[in-house]
């Protein structure tokens, strides 16, 4: 590398060269860990198997094998009575549908095999999500087969038939004597559901529908009402923004519509020779992104400039930016070099810039609106005419509802897709007050925190079983269609329940189609809309599902001076708490989904639980290290105990805790994982506040290891990440590239590929190749879950992750680095990095740069794993694939030891039909097993596995081509990761096909941005990475 002072590190252990890290760095496998019991703690010798046990087992094994061999079991094959025409056993059938969970939206295609949904893919016809998916959308298919789901209606704790429950509920609804009825839900984007609710409200007067969001943007909606007279979330277009300034809005990870924004954002992150040639504005060849935030978010990781701040000062920083652009606010705004630079860039890109804020404070959002107005962004990057309906929650009305319940003013309440007892700060009070409500009904699919306190539970269908529709943005419609008949016949869709109670006996499908024909299709074709899954209507006959003039009870002032003083008074001192959302678990609604629990957080790489993220300097001051359990106190009262995690990039004097954890009634796999942080949210001025002061951490002296995956593999100071800045790239497309040289026997220095002991093998047909663009990979993790679903990858649980035995075939490596030149100094005998003079050291860990790198089997053409396998279980194919034959593997693990990329995974245990791995629900429950991909083997104990480039998809694609008497077309064969990627950072194809995307990319980027990892080892991988280019000065 040219810049040798640049230091990359995967975690603080590596940066600080801690002894434990150094020890582990040399060991491929932690051999001292027990394998008899899956316990991370027990390392005593007695836990091993002794010789007698071994002989006994051996004898039994031989006897069992010979007995089993005597007679093959009789297997039945049961054909249909009437075979549906479109189903051919063994062929997948695809349906277009829509993933919705509260305010989350994703247009999807559902792959079904023999009538079972097994995989979610993005719908490329969607003009909102553009074929991208989120990790949660990918994982939602497993939630369908959740054994915690209720199988029938319940009254109290006993099951009830639908008819009986209906009769009782209707009788009670008619006997309320005009008492208030409240329907409480999370955001509903479905126009037909809203129609059904309206019909219910028309029948039972005094019914009100209240929406709230666990991750609320109520403040934004209120501010828009005040600034523009429209109480909506606008459509943002990040693709039109050359300068993006975000104040704590994690728009690539969790804010409003991350899949949509990621696709837009990535458009301005693509580079290439043609783009470079046609560019007129070299400075903004890439968008420039500033992030001002507290905790290191996914969006912050992708920013070019990042400024860590205390959350209470966010308003002041927004005000400072306002003063730089417009001026005139009398606040004592903090000075920041980065902010001034951002202001300058914004002023130079009027109408082509975007300022967003994740704050739920109305004042901050009004100020942001003023900045955008001044920059002329309204109507260009912010579209108020096409509002987004993905967040509609109103914190004020929800708080009012809870007060009403406590005051006994509510006669009946229906919870739909809502779990406020868990995910609302006043949830505990609500739960206690629910007994005062004479009729409480929940549509929840499980006995969750709220429904267990309701008189009736009428479980709704999972979205894969149901008909429904959605309107994520005004005029952009999409449909939900069933992909399997309801797993539990005694459940019913919530809308149909409402209709039945209204006295309308139309089934919901008919109701939906009628509504579409009358109000939405506007002459369009229903079948086409259903086939596409999405429908765009230009007609104006539709009824808006959100009233843009919704009244807010608290008056909002737009007087900037009063706003400025309010913002200034919000500033607090001392330790502050920022509550954030994680990309895996989100608001916690899918907490019982083990895939999401085990998805490593993109930044901290932690799985199975939340933690208190503290800044590096705080940890140094207090002598805390990751895993130390602290008691979190708020205003002097203890809230809960959690381990701390020292998080580089965390703002000084702040701590962050994620929502979504600490469920008590989610199900076996998701209960009692982490702590519930919702009760710590404050409610003031009509909105929930996701940050608060008055927080303190008290060490308890306990230690609880956090199940992190980050240091499980090491980089050992090699050029794995290659990056450069945009000005460097403009002068030299190969900027940041590292060209290793090896010395031959006669002392010459040559490129590694000129030295080889292996023969080249011909690849006459296909040569499968992947190109990963590090510049557009945002690290969202949807590829990891997509891979897990496609390839039947087991979940191993917290203890085994701690034992470094996670099974993900595709991991996203996160590398920290710092652009500045740091000096080193010995401290306690170890090298430490410092900047500045000896009295005011700054640590590089305080605000590092972050680069994400998806790491999977590199399908090396000279694969080191293949040469060491004693039984030839891993071999090379003529299509460039590094093949793994599980049935041949004897488990020596030589291959994993010899793999320089550390991408091979060993089955230490039998993860299926094993009660010890109950959390691996996709292999241990009758219901969960339905999600398994029948084309991929479930691996047994003692064999090695790894990424196969989704060989089953390659084979299927080739066969389709053969059946149709043609060559495969580029884009037809995609790996699960490539198809899940919302930013098209992962490209896959046949490089022997000159029309393919990978061929084009590599022919353009060859000897420029394209590099292979560890080129010096000369493994000749079939995966090329494109360098990361940051839009900042060198």
């Amino acid at each position: 590398m040219k810049d040798t002072t640049k230091k990359y590190w995967k975690g603080l252990e590596e940066l600080n060269n801690e002894p434990e890290f150094l020890k582990q760095a040399q060991n491929e496998f932690p051999d001292y860990l027990p394998i008899k019991e899956s316990s991370g703690k027990d390392t005593s010798e007695s836990s091993g198997t002794d010789r007698r046990d071994f002989l006994k087992l051996l004898g039994f094994g031989v006897a069992a094998a010979s007995l089993a061999a005597c007679e093959a079991p009789v297997k039945k094959v049961i054909p249909y009575v009437n075979k549906p025409e479109e189903i051919d056993p063994g062929n997948a059938v695809w349906y277009a549908s829509t993933y919705m969970d509260g305010g989350e939206y994703c247009s999807v295609l559902v792959k079904t095999r023999e009538g079972r949904p097994i995989k979610i893919e993005g719908n490329r016809l969607s003009k909102v999500t553009w074929g991208g998916t989120s990790a949660r959308a990918q994982a939602s298919v497993l939630s369908l087969y959740d054994s915690a789901r209720l199988t029938s209606f319940y009254a109290g704790k006993s099951a009830k038939s639908k008819a009986e429950a209906d009769k009782e509920i209707i009788a009670k609804l008619n006997n309320l004597n005009g008492g208030a009825i409240r329907i409480v839900s999370s955001t509903i984007m479905s126009p037909t559901t809203k129609k059904a609710i309206a019909e219910f409200a028309a029948k039972y007067s005094n019914t009100e529908h209240i929406q709230y969001d666990a991750n609320s943007v109520s403040g934004l909606i209120k501010a828009n009402k005040a600034s523009f007279g429209k109480a909506v979330v606008p459509s943002y277009d990040f693709s039109k923004a050359k300068v993006i300034v975000s104040f704590g809005a994690d728009f690539l990870g969790t804010w409003i519509s991350p899949v949509e924004y990621a696709a837009q954002y990535a458009k301005n992150k693509k580079l290439g020779e043609s783009i470079k040639k046609n560019s007129t504005d070299n400075e903004f060849l890439l968008a420039r992104h500033y992030q001002v935030e507290t905790n290191l978010s996914l969006t912050g990781c992708n920013a070019d400039f990042r400024l860590p701040i205390k959350p209470s000062e966010e308003g002041l920083y927004v005000a400072a930016l306002y003063n730089e652009i417009v001026g005139g606010l009398s606040v004592n705004a903090p000075k920041s070099e980065i902010l001034s630079k951002a202001a300058e860039d914004l002023k130079n890109s009027k109408g082509k810039s975007l300022v967003v804020s994740g704050s739920n404070d109305v004042n901050v959002q009004i100020l942001v609106n003023e900045i955008n107005k001044a920059l002329g962004n309204i109507g260009t990057t912010i579209d108020l005419e096409t509002p987004s309906y993905q967040r509609q929650g109103d914190d004020e009305r929800m708080a009012g509802f809870i007060e009403d319940v406590k005051a006994g003013k509510v006669a009946a309440v229906i919870f739909y897709n809502a779990n406020p007892v868990y995910d609302h700060p006043m949830g505990k009070e609500l739960g206690e007050a629910l007994s005062k409500v004479s009729l409480s009904i929940s549509f929840s699919d499980r006995m969750d925190e709220t429904s267990s306190k309701c008189a009736y539970v009428c479980p709704d269908f999972h979205y894969l079983e149901a008909w429904n529709d959605a309107e994520p943005k005004k005029g952009y419609y999409s449909l939900v269609q069933p992909t399997i008949s309801p797993l539990f016949k005694d459940t019913r869709s919530a809308q149909e329940s409402l209709l039945v109670w209204t006295g309308n006996n139309t089934d919901y499908y008919t109701y939906l189609t009628n509504n579409w024909k009358q109000n939405i299709l506007n002459g369009g074709d229903w079948n086409q809309a259903l086939h596409d899954g999405v429908y765009q209507s230009s007609g104006s006959t539709q009824v808006a599902i959100v009233s843009e003039t919704a009244a807010t009870e608290t008056a909002v002032s737009t007087d900037l001076n009063s706003i400025a003083s309010a913002i200034a008074s919000a500033k607090s001192s001392g330790l502050e708490l920022k509550v954030y959302e994680k990309i895996g678990l989100g608001s916690g609604s899918q907490a019982n989904n083990p895939w999401l629990q085990e998805l490593p957080d993109p930044i901290s790489k932690a799985t199975w639980g939340n933690y208190v993220a503290v800044s590096v300097s705080y940890a140094k001051d207090k002598g805390l290290k990751s895993g130390d359990v602290v008691s979190v106190t708020v205003d002097g009262k203890e809230a809960f105990k959690l381990p701390v995690l020292v998080q580089p990039g965390q703002a000084k004097d702040t701590v962050s805790i994620a929502i979504g954890y600490g469920r008590t009634n989610a199900g076996k796999a998701g209960d009692k994982i982490g702590q519930n942080v919702y009760p710590l949210l404050a409610y003031s001025n009509g909105t929930l506040k996701y940050n608060r002061g008055g927080v303190d951490l008290k060490p308890t002296g306990d230690f609880e290891e956090i199940a992190q995956t980050q240091t499980h593999q090491t980089i050992m100071g090699r050029a794995i990440i290659q990056d450069a800045t945009l000005p460097e790239y403009i002068t030299d497309s190969a900027a940041g590239r590292f060209y290793p040289k090896v010395t031959t026997a006669d002392g010459k220095k040559v490129a590694p590929k000129d030295v080889t002991v292996w023969w080249e093998h011909e690849k006459p047909n296909h040569l499968w190749t992947m190109v990963i663009d590090l510049n557009s990979c945002i690290g969202c993790g949807s590829c990891t879950i997509s891979c897990q679903a496609e390839n039947n990858i087991p979940v191993v649980g917290k203890k085994e992750v701690i034992n470094r035995r996670e099974m993900h075939w595709l991991r996203i490596d996160r590398y920290y680095s710092t652009a500045e030149t740091w000096s080193t100094k010995k401290e306690h005998g170890k090298d430490k990095y410092f900047k500045g003079d000896a009295t005011a050291w700054e640590y590089p860990e305080e605000n590092p740069e972050v680069t994400f790198q998806p790491m999977l089997c590199q399908q090396c053409n000279h694969a080191p794993c293949e040469t060491v396998c004693p039984v030839a279980a891993t071999t090379h194919s003529s299509e460039g694939l590094n093949q793994m034959a599980y049935n041949r593997c004897i488990g020596t693990r030589y291959c994993a030891n010899n793999c320089p990329y550390k991408v091979r995974r060993f089955n230490w245990f039998k993860y299926f039909d094993n009660d010890k791995f109950f959390m691996n629900t996709s292999m241990n429950t009758q219901l969960g097993r339905m999600v398994l991909n029948p084309d991929v083997t479930v691996r047994s104990r003692g064999v090695m596995e790894k990424c196969t480039f989704c060989v089953q998809r390659i084979q299927e694609g080739k066969l389709t081509a053969k059946k149709e008497n043609r060559r495969p077309v580029d884009g037809e064969i995609l790996t699960a990761c490539a198809s899940a990627c919302p930013t098209n950072a992962i490209m896959f194809g046949d490089i022997n096909d000159a029309s393919s995307q990978v061929w084009n990319q590599l022919s353009e980027e060859n000897k420029k941005r394209a590099y292979t990892v560890l080129e010096e080892v000369n493994t000749r991988p079939n995966i090329a990475y494109l360098t990361r280019i940051r839009n900042k000065q060198a």
Binding site: K75, P79, Y80, V81, G90, Q952, L959, R966
Partner: protein
């Protein structure tokens, strides 16, 4: 001493000779019979394809009776061609109209009406009739995969031939043994006559008696016997272990005694008619009952079991209860097999793997379904049948420049992850 050496040399060369002979016999080849080509008129050619597309061949053959009568000379049997065409398009109408010949056929065929074919235009029916008229006698049913004269791979390595060779070797060896004994006897007798001229040592050699007791007790003998015994035991164990899980000739009793011999053999119903997935999907499909009912809504009595067997089917259909057949071909989960790949892309015949299914009263697993058996085919260079059809499929166009013909192995068919993933 020198005699014994030359003797063993003789044996060795003899064995080598027979071994070579054995090898030369065990590699044998087959030549496929050329398919009959018909010189049909354009109309009849159209009729020939319609004959299959419209499904006539499901119930009819040209020269023999299937479900319906043999069609040869059908035009002569009918009084008017118009009436015949009407009958083909809607037979029940013609029968109801009281046409005497139509009623006669109806009664002759167990009062099973021919289903209506109103989707066929008059010209189409005429074309089919033209084909019936011109169809060469040798082509009984060219369209079906079971009916044709395709060749099969003999995977047992020619057990018939090896039997003959073994017998030959034994006969020759016995002859050699007899001649050697005779030589010994002659020499002994000759030496006996000249006993007086021999020295003492030679005398004792000539008169020596064979001591069986000592022989059986000798370590050499015991060691040899033990060695042979161990060898046999090991070999049997090895063979036994190899056969674990190999269920060749598995022919379980099925809930309905369905006869492929009757349906595929006698009636020549296309395999694809019932096993609908074979060209498109991984599974060939066990037919769903609605497919059975296409014919069995009319045919309620079989030739062997009478009404009893079909009654079981009808009962399942009435109750809408699926039939639980016993699965015969069980591939382990670790191996991926796709019918479409082999039958559609590979253009293999069903018989190649499933054996002479059209002669099986009860279906049995004809092939061992072992990996070795799969691989043998993928390697096979000697049989046209299992080679890759690179000239017929555009997918393989890339290979045509270098190859005229390829084995599956040459396109990567022996690579692990073609079947294991």
């Amino acid at each position: 001493m020198s005699q014994t050496i030359s003797c063993s040399c003789f044996y060795r060369s003899l064995l080598t000779f027979f071994f070579a002979l054995f090898l030369s016999f065990s590699t044998f080849s087959q030549t496929p019979p050329a398919p009959a080509a018909g010189g049909l008129s354009p109309d009849a050619q159209k009729g020939e394809s319609l004959f299959k597309v419209a499904g006539c061949n499901t119930c009819h053959a040209i020269d023999e009776k299937k479900v319906g009568p043999a069609l040869r000379g059908v035009q002569k049997r009918w009084s008017s061609q118009a009436q015949l065409i009407n009958f083909v398009r809607n037979s029940t109408k013609v029968i109801a109209s009281g046409d005497p010949y139509a009623n006669k056929i109806y009664n002759e065929n167990a009062k099973t009406p021919m289903p209506a074919h109103e989707f066929l235009a008059e010209a189409d029916v005429k074309a089919i009739l033209a084909y019936v008229k011109e169809a060469p006698a040798t082509v009984v049913d060219k369209g079906t995969t079971t009916g044709g004269g395709g060749n099969t791979i003999n995977t047992s390595g020619g057990s018939g031939n090896s039997g003959i060779i073994l017998t030959l070797i034994i006969v020759v060896l016995v002859l050699v043994l007899i001649s050697l004994t005779l030589v010994l006897v002659f020499i002994k007798r000759y030496l006996k006559e000249k006993e007086a001229t021999l020295i003492e040592e030679e005398k004792s050699l000539v008169n020596q008696k064979f001591d069986f007791g000592a022989f059986f007790k000798s370590t050499g003998f015991i060691a040899t016997v033990i060695f042979i015994f161990v060898c046999i035991a090991l070999r049997e164990t090895y063979i036994g272990l190899l056969s674990v899980g190999v269920e060749q000739n598995y022919a379980p009793k099925q809930p309905i005694p369905f006869s492929h011999k009757l349906h595929a053999g006698q009636y020549k119903i296309d395999c694809n008619y019932c096993h609908t997935g074979v060209m498109k999907a991984k599974q060939a499909n066990i037919p769903s009952i609605n497919i059975c009912m296409n014919c069995h809504s009319n045919i309620k009595e079989g030739p062997k079991y009478g009404k009893a067997a079909i009654a079981v089917l009808l009962d399942h259909y009435e109750k809408q209860k699926p039939i639980e057949w016993v699965r015969i071909h069980n591939l382990p989960d670790l191996a991926y097999f796709n019918h479409a790949q082999h039958v559609n892309a590979g253009k293999l015949e069903c018989k190649t793997c499933h054996g002479a299914i059209d002669t099986m009263e009860v279906v049995r697993q004809a092939s061992p379904l072992t990996m070795g058996w799969c691989i043998n085919c993928h390697r096979a260079a000697d049989s046209n049948n299992v080679r890759v059809k690179i000239q017929d499929n555009e997918y393989y166009a890339k290979f045509r420049a270098k190859h005229k013909d390829m084995t599956v192995e040459q396109i990567g068919g022996l690579e692990c992850s073609k079947c294991h993933y």
